[in-house]
């Protein structure tokens, strides 16, 4: 492996940027943002240099001993293979575009320097997950991602809702991480190592090494992905996380952090047995369906995209569960492009309409914001799976995977979700960019500056061509070494090999777009609630998941907290500590009486002492 130092630099430059910004340049907005952007862009360039020197098809590790406790040896190491190199490109590339965009988006914010410090911390943590070569290192980076997402969601902490959303995201993630930690401990207990390569070798050598606990261990590890990738039942945090600034939504809640769960599943796919994969597939499918239904009736521009993210993550998890890491990672990559693009375009719209997020107060922005209009259109087409945009290729590979595994139920779910996706995406699109202006802000909107539109254009190019530029070859080289690399033309016509899912996919997407067009072409309010009645109400209220959790888990938790508080206050503090404190106080008061201050009493006690002493010395 050439240039072994480069991955270390890529990993630690953002951390260095965080340290420099927080320690020295917090008062200088310009310097801070340039340092942060410089770190991530340098990371991107170094990644390209590293790949051009070594190629994608290496499988190497570089590590240094970190700690040794008894039998446990943990390295701090970096794993470099096609999977992690692709993720490096996504995190530094898409992340870099978002960093540059933030430079424009956060221009008027007084906390800009702090924002960029957090962004760099997040980039470091995410690169840590991607490059980790063992479970412990990954878990630490995993938690750091949780912390930095907490900081970024709660960036506008003066807003009460932002603080609450940050706490909700962090705590929900912790629930999943607890299972993840148990899974890691179980794997270590059974196989005696945390290093991915060592684990893989021992599983390959002895497929039954995990024994009866295989399914349990697999599902516990999946818990981590459920939290990070916001799968049912821990999906509730992602929509609330939209309280953060829009670049944060794009970086964390579209392109990278939520992808970490899927990435982790692909990284440790060898640990998951058939039963665990089965559960994973159905949870993924259910999440995709649930989130798509909810997205249909949301009115906040960012929330719609957030639920669409949930739904697409469901697709990826489902693909992993159907034993298709290649389609999953392929969709993750294209999704990173077009979802970051959609979020950033939405941010551009929000900025132009003075932080208006209700789509029913926008309208007719097509003429006023031409660049944003076109980039959003490309993102929406890619998300809906219209050829030849990137989303079409990756989604088609997931459909094909469903059919290959002969899982017709999940294929049906996937197709239905695809129709819903096209419908809600273009609902948003028509309401925001067509029709009449529905508020004064929309009337006075104007196109954003170049620092904002440039990243949009770059991302739009990748969202358009991402499906046939060799992404999928790199994943094949990781997961199916025998699969021969496809040429450019072969990639272009790859979906034609399985015409059934391709035609169904295009058909439902067009159907969804057509329905959205007929309902929302010139609509000034939503016609769906009148047609669907109760169902629309339930969709709008996110199927009451928050309320159900409030009434059950949170209520139960509050009850336990009250009991614990009572025990602490009255038993521990009142009785145990109180008895010691009160006893000391009481004996102190009693002993105080002995101190009369009268010399003769002291003399008397003194003599008494001497007498007792003499009795013991001489009397025996």
């Amino acid at each position: 492996m050439k240039y072994e130092i480069l991955p270390w630099l890529i990993l630690f430059l953002p951390l260095l940027a965080t340290a420099v910004i927080t320690l020295f340049t917090l008062r200088c907005k310009m310097t801070s943002s340039l340092i942060s952007i410089g770190a991530v862009v340098a990371g991107f360039i170094l990644t390209i240099i590293f790949i051009s020197a070594n190629g994608f098809h290496i499988n190497a590790e570089t590590s240094t001993n970190w700690l040794t406790i008894g039998d446990l040896h943990v390295d701090f190491g970096l794993k470099l293979d096609a999977l992690s190199l692709m993720m490096l490109l996504i995190v530094t590339g898409v992340g870099g575009a978002i960093h540059i965009y933030s430079f424009g988006y956060m221009d008027e914010d007084p906390g800009k320097a702090r924002f960029f410090a957090f962004m760099s911390l997040f980039t470091f943590s995410m690169l840590g997950i991607v490059l980790a070569n063992n479970f412990l290192e990954m878990f630490i980076a995993w938690e750091l991602v949780g912390v930095s997402s907490y900081l970024l969601i709660g960036f506008w902490f003066e807003k009460h809702s932002a603080g609450d959303a940050a706490k909700k995201a962090f705590i929900t993630n912790r629930l999943g991480d607890f299972g993840f930690l148990l899974g890691i401990l179980m794997v270590w207990g059974l196989l005696g190592s945390l290093n991915f390569s060592v684990l893989q070798n021992s599983i390959v050598a002895n497929p039954a090494a995990l024994g009866a606990m295989a399914t349990t261990a697999g599902l516990l590890i999946f818990c981590g992905a459920v939290g990070k990738s916001a799968q049912f039942p821990l999906h509730v945090w992602l929509a609330d996380a939209m309280e953060g600034p829009t670049p944060v939504s794009a970086l964390i809640h579209a392109a990278t952090m939520v992808a970490a769960g899927v990435y982790m599943l692909c990284r440790v796919l060898f640990l998951l047995d058939a039963d665990a994969l089965h559960v994973i597939a159905y949870i993924g499918g259910f999440t995709a369906l649930l989130a798509a239904l909810i997205a249909v009736q949301q009115n906040d521009i960012k929330r719609i995209i957030a639920y669409s993210t949930l739904s697409q993550l469901g697709y990826m998890v489902m693909a992993v569960g159907l034993n298709g890491p290649t389609p999953a990672m392929f969709h993750l990559t294209t999704h990173a492009f077009f979802k970051a693009l959609l979020f950033l375009s939405a941010g551009s719209v929000i900025l132009a309409t003075h932080h208006e997020q209700d789509i029913w107060k926008m309208g007719n922005l097509r003429k006023k914001m031409p660049v944003t209009f076109w980039t959003f259109l490309i993102g929406a087409l890619a998300l809906s799976g219209i050829p030849p945009f990137s989303g079409f290729y990756s989604k088609d590979s997931i459909f094909a995977q469903c059919l290959e595994q002969k899982n017709y139920l999940l294929f049906g779910v996937a197709v239905f979700v695809a129709a819903l996706t096209a419908f809600y995406t273009f609902r948003l699109f028509f309401v925001v960019f067509f029709g009449k202006e529905k508020s004064d802000h929309a009337k006075h909107a104007h196109e954003s500056s170049l620092v904002i539109t440039l990243p949009l254009i770059v991302l739009a190019v990748f969202a358009a061509i991402g499906g046939f530029i060799g992404v999928v070859n790199n994943y094949y080289s990781q997961f199916a070494p025998n699969h021969e690399a496809l040429s450019f033309v072969q990639q272009l016509i790859e979906p034609l090999k399985t015409p059934v899912p391709m035609l169904i996919g295009i058909g439902v997407a067009l159907l969804g777009i057509f329905l959205a067009f007929s309902f929302y072409k010139n609509a000034t309010n939503d016609p769906l609630p009148a047609k669907l009645g109760k169902l629309a109400e339930a969709m709008k209220n996110r199927f009451y998941f928050d309320e159900i959790y409030e009434a059950t888990f949170i209520r139960a938790h509050d009850f336990i907290a009250t009991v614990a508080d009572w025990i602490d206050r009255w038993l521990v503090e009142g009785f145990c500590i109180g008895a010691i404190r009160g006893g000391t106080d009481l004996s102190g008061r009693a002993l105080r009486l002995v101190q009369t201050g009268n010399l003769q009493t002291y003399a008397f006690l003194f003599v008494l002492g001497v007498a007792v002493l003499l009795y013991f010395v001489l009397g025996k």
Partner: protein, 101 residues
Amino acid sequence: MHVGLEHYLTVSFLLFALGLLGVIMRRNLLVIYMSLELMLNAANLALVAFSRFNDNLNGQILVFFIITVAAAEVSVGLALIVALYRKRQTAHVEDLTSMKL
């Protein structure tokens, strides 16, 4: 009647007990002070008696020292009492309880 060591020691013990009782019971500082001297002299008597009956002069030499030191101590103690009386206008121990909190 033969007078032996035990007789001297009995007298010495009685003197010491009287002095101790005076120190503990009496309220006037001057009387307490005199009682202290009584205890000191009880010790002197015991030392002299031991010295005499054991044919060893060390005890008597020690007594000279004690008398000398006692004389110095009395002068210092009396001076303190006079100073105290001038300051507080009393020589009774019940009134002197500033050590009590």
